[in-house]
Symmetry: D2
Subunit: 153 residues, 4 copies
C-alpha cells in the first residue's frame, strides 16, 4: 500500500490513539495489540484463537473486519483534531483467502483525509508457519465528529 505523507493536527496523536484503543472492550476480547501508530497509518496484530473462529476453524471474517476496521479507524484518527471523535460510516471487505494462520497483522492507511469525511484502506495478512499472505482488503469511510459528548475519541 502506498504511504502518502501526512502531518497530524494534534502532536499528541499517538497517546490519543492508545487511550482510545484501551477503551475498546472488543480489542481486548480479540487479543488485539496496537503495534505501530504513524501519521495516517496504524498496525494492529492478533493471534489466532478458537474463540475467534468460524465453522472451518479459520479466523471469522467478522473478526478480521473488527481488527481491520479498528486499524482503519485509528489511521484516520491520527490526523483528526484533538477534540474530535471518529465513527465509521461504512466499510467493505474482500476476503481474498481463508484467514488461516497463527498470527494476523492488520494495516490501516489513510488515502484521503478530510475535514468531515476521511477515506482509508486496510490490508490483513495471515502469518502461517512463518509465511505471510494477504488475506483481506478493506475500504473504510470515516466521519470526524465534533461537539458530541458521547463521541469524543
Amino acid at each position: 500500500m502506498e504511504q502518502p505523507e501526512f502531518k497530524p493536527k494534534d502532536p499528541a496523536y499517538v497517546a490519543r490513539v492508545q487511550d482510545s484503543f484501551a477503551l475498546q472492550g472488543a480489542m481486548a476480547t480479540i487479543g488485539a495489540q496496537l503495534v505501530q501508530v504513524q501519521p495516517g497509518r496504524v498496525t494492529i496484530e492478533l493471534a489466532w484463537a478458537a474463540a475467534l473462529s468460524q465453522q472451518h476453524g479459520f479466523l471469522h471474517a467478522g473478526m478480521v473486519a473488527t481488527a481491520l476496521d479498528s486499524a482503519c479507524g485509528y489511521a484516520g484518527f491520527t490526523l483528526m483534531p484533538a477534540d474530535a471523535g471518529v465513527l465509521t460510516i461504512e466499510f467493505k471487505i474482500n476476503l481474498l483467502a481463508p484467514a488461516k494462520g497463527q498470527r494476523f497483522r492488520m494495516v490501516g492507511q489513510v488515502i484521503k483525509p478530510g475535514r468531515t469525511v476521511t477515506v482509508t484502506e486496510g490490508r490483513a495478512y495471515a502469518i502461517d508457519n512463518g509465511h505471510e499472505k494477504l488475506v483481506a482488503t478493506m475500504g473504510a469511510t470515516l466521519m470526524t465528529i465534533t461537539g458530541r459528548e458521547d463521541v469524543k475519541n
Copy 2:
C-alpha cells in the same frame, strides 16, 4: 426487507445451519443465538456486552459486522446443496447510527441465490429500552464451495 420465496435443495437445511453455527467459536464469544432459520432468511440475536464495545461504549462496528455476516452467510447456506460449504467473498456494511442498545437483532436475507455466487442483504436492529432502531445495513456476496475437505459446512 422483501422476502422472496425460495425452496431449499437440502430438506435438512435447518439442522445443517445449526450444526455449522455451533462450530463457530466467534458466535459463542459474542453470545450470538440463532433465533430463526427460514429458506433464504436467518435471524441472529445477541446482547450488549462491554467485551464487544468500541471506545464510546457502543457495540463495535466489527462485532455488528461479525453477527450480520453470519446471518447473511447462513441465509445463503440454507439454499445450498447438502455437500456444500459457504465462504464470504466480500461484504459492505453501512453504519447508520451508533449501535446503542441492550440487545441486537441481525437479519440476513438472500436476494439472489446462484450455483456459485449468492447475493444477500442484512439489517441490524438495536433494541434500546424497548425501542427498536435500524442501525446497520449489509450487502454480502457468498461463494458455494464444493469438493474441499476443509470447507464443507
Copy 3:
C-alpha cells in the same frame, strides 16, 4: 424495497430534482428519464442502446451504475434543504445478472437521511420481452453540501 415515510424540508423538491437532472449531460447521453420523484424515492428509466453496451451486448455495468447512482443521489436530494447540493461519497453495486433487456428501471430509496450523511439503496430492473427482473442492487452514501458555490444542486 421498504419505503419509509419522509417529509421533505423543501416543498419545491420535485422541481429542484428536475432542474438538477436537466443539467446532467450524462443523463441525456444515456437517454435516462426521470419517471417518478417522491419524498426519499426516485425512479429513472432508460432504453437499451448499443452505445451503452459492454462486450457481450448487455447494458454496461457502469451504465447501470450511472443511472442507479443518479436515482439514489436524487432520492437523497429530495430530503435536503433548499440551498444544499448533493455529492456521492461512495457506492457499491452488485450485478446479480447480466443487464439484458430492452428497457431498464432504476429505483433509488433513502434508508437513513442525515444532516451531513444520507444512506440510500437502489434496485435496477431489466425489462426483457415484458418480463421484469432484478439485475442489480446498490448501496450509496451521499453528502449534503452547503455553502459551496460550485456544488449547489
Copy 4:
C-alpha cells in the same frame, strides 16, 4: 498501487483485451482509450465532455465508475484462460474529490487472481491544468465465465 508480478495463461492476452474493448459501445460513447495492457494491470484514459457530466459540470460518478470498472475488468481478463469471458460480480467506488479536469486516467490492478473469482482495485486520476489528482478508488470482484456462448470475452 502495488503491482504484483503475474504470468498470463494466454500469451495473446493483449489482443484479446483489445478485441473485447472494441466491442464495448459504452467505451466509444465515453471516448475511452486503452493506453496500456500489462499482465494484471490495464490503463484507460478519457477526456472530459459535457455529455459525461453531472449537474455541477464534473465528470459523473457513474462515468468514472464505467471507465474504472472496465479498467478493473480488463486487468482481470489479462490473466484469464483464452476461452474465458469476464463478468463483474460487484464493485465499490469511493469518490474522494469531485472529478474536475480536462483528462482522466483510470488504472485497474489485479490484487488476487483466482480460478473463479478475481479481486481487483482501481484508481482514477483527474488531470486538471497539468496537475494530477487521485479522485476515486475502486474495489471490484470479477468472475471467470467458461462454457457460456453469450459470455465468451
